[in-house]
Symmetry: none
Subunit: 413 residues, 2 copies
Amino acid sequence: MKALLIIIDGAADRALKSLNRKTPLEVAHKPNIDKLAKDGITGIMDPITPGISVGSDTAHLALLGYDPFKTYTGRGAFEALGAGVELKPGEIAFRTNFATVDENMRVIDRRAGRYIEEAKEFEKIINSISLKDNPDVEIFFKHTVEHRGVLVLRGKGLSRFISDTDPHEIGVRVLESKPLVDTPEAKKTANVINEFTRIIYNLLKDHPLNRSRAKRGLPPANILLLRGAGVLPTIKPLSEKFKIKAACIAGIALVKGVAKAVGMDIINVPGATGGLDTDVLAKVKYAIKALRDYDFVFIHYKGTDAASHDGNVWAKIRMIERIDSAVGYLIERIKLDETYIVITADHATLTEETRNHSGDFVPLLIHGPGVISDDVDMFCERACLKGGLGRIRGLDLMNIIMNYLNKVEKFGE
Amino acid sequence: MKALLIIIDGAADRALKSLNRKTPLEVAHKPNIDKLAKDGITGIMDPITPGISVGSDTAHLALLGYDPFKTYTGRGAFEALGAGVELKPGEIAFRTNFATVDENMRVIDRRAGRYIEEAKEFEKIINSISLKDNPDVEIFFKHTVEHRGVLVLRGKGLSRFISDTDPHEIGVRVLESKPLVDTPEAKKTANVINEFTRIIYNLLKDHPLNRSRAKRGLPPANILLLRGAGVLPTIKPLSEKFKIKAACIAGIALVKGVAKAVGMDIINVPGATGGLDTDVLAKVKYAIKALRDYDFVFIHYKGTDAASHDGNVWAKIRMIERIDSAVGYLIERIKLDETYIVITADHATLTEETRNHSGDFVPLLIHGPGVISDDVDMFCERACLKGGLGRIRGLDLMNIIMNYLNKVEKFGE
């Protein structure tokens, strides 16, 4: 028996005015997923508990079976793992942006124009930095995509409890990092970050690469903004917890990072962009292959969440429909009597109201051998309210899936 | 976006013989509330967990988002706050009854005839008491309604872990207060209470006010019975937790006290008695006004619970119908596309069987913009069993409401 989990990021929503009080999942034409709902069991799920709003990191931890209140140690760590950086216990990882600041360190462009051709050169410069005030701390930087990257501090006595330097808005000065707790470790780490920020600005402000960018009319990449300090979480991997081999197919670093943190292998798929333009079919094709070698395969689609953050209802619907066609391809090619298919969202993203994550419930379907079907014949929030699974919590999901695979150890005798 | 929470105290019940196996909420004619159920989402709720019976204090704490197992510190504190007494940390508050005892301190009337005309005079006498054995402890007393009042001990080294002096039945002697834990604080507080009880009896037994009552054929108010020792709970107020302004409209001191403890403003409404005779419409009118200034308004109706304690099924039904008419007035006058209306009960009260609170589930409805409606078109226990919210817990309610108002902070990124 194998299981395939498809998480459609931010797919759930509220009853929208522009859809005549329906949700995007209700409006989308998705005959394949609805067929799975019809033949399977459905329900609703709170990623944490009812009403609690979650990030993609905490939501994925919960849905993969790890209590985020116990295992979440900051987003930076997952970004680093997802970017292929080997993170060791005690090291502090940050998400970073190349950005443009003026001579008063005021942020003019939080993305330095977004496309940084010279990123690899800048990467070398940053990796050559040595700190004078904190000579025992080593800097490691890796550029990922566009203006984004990951910075890691390597050294002893560091802490993740420090504030961001990224002010998250333009027109204001780069922030000084501050210790969030009163410990020598947090003070030292904030000090390291502030020294690093001064050094990098001095190195980059008049750098030939930036003078060249200016000549071409591009904003200089003269600062690195840091946010989301994190450390490697202490986690018992899925292989130990359930004695399974698990793989993740995702486009974005964060989800790959969470998957890696819980001990999944990462399968990189050409064309998996993590955006609306992702190759939905390619992910499914790789998943079909992976199901031969792995007990549990997890496919993540990000486009729905991106469309919601943009407030684009129809792009969200279209993305759901594209995923449905990939599911159609899938179910014709795998053995449905040997494979559980689980489809859900990691959280709702409110396309009309806040354009952000919310604490609303999400729909869930489980299809596979031995599953007791209910009367629901559609995969959407409203229909799944009547689902046979009732209302479960994110942390229950992996146990339910692993139980179908008969991988859950008996408690008691 | 605003939210209005209406709690109908003890409204839930069991299938009653006298109603041909229906519940009071099923039998009551309540077209307005049922319309909200039809257009909204419904479900059932356990104030704590299934089967656990709750007091009005613990139920309201839970429904307002505070775990009573962590925040409940005795009923006396809420009564004091609700009576408008400023309670400081460390002070011990009691609910009190004026009562009648014989020369052997045996209770003859637990309410001293219930109506104590001379209450204000007695209040002065009690507030002039100074303790000889415990000169560092100050006594503060406030009469509230009928035979009821609040007593506060002010001083250092006091404890709420002492037993009541109120024997809760007639024919037996006033109890000696005993320490419930083996600490010097509890011993001292029990000692204070026992000294106070001796002093007040000696002051009041032959007092001219009581001689005058005797002449008029009234039982003397010659003792003050104490119960429900409590201290101010340590609570993060709603304003900090959700960054909202919240107001409470209630007739009874206990509910006002809980609301005040969690940081709500108390709006006093003329005609709000907390009984079956309350002005149901006046509360709604004040709530409509309050919704202009507050994010969250909570209306409490007590009459249903009072009717249940009296075993009066039809009074309960009639009270539900009166509340329904007030809801009808409300929904014609507020912007339904900008306001969430939530209706529930704090617990069930069994009108036929025990005439007391029980651990049965209660029905719940949420109506408002973006809410995904279910098929339920009636607000009652039986119909809400099929509701889309499924079965939630009291502690989830505020998170769900605040999520609709987009006031829940995201956990993770």
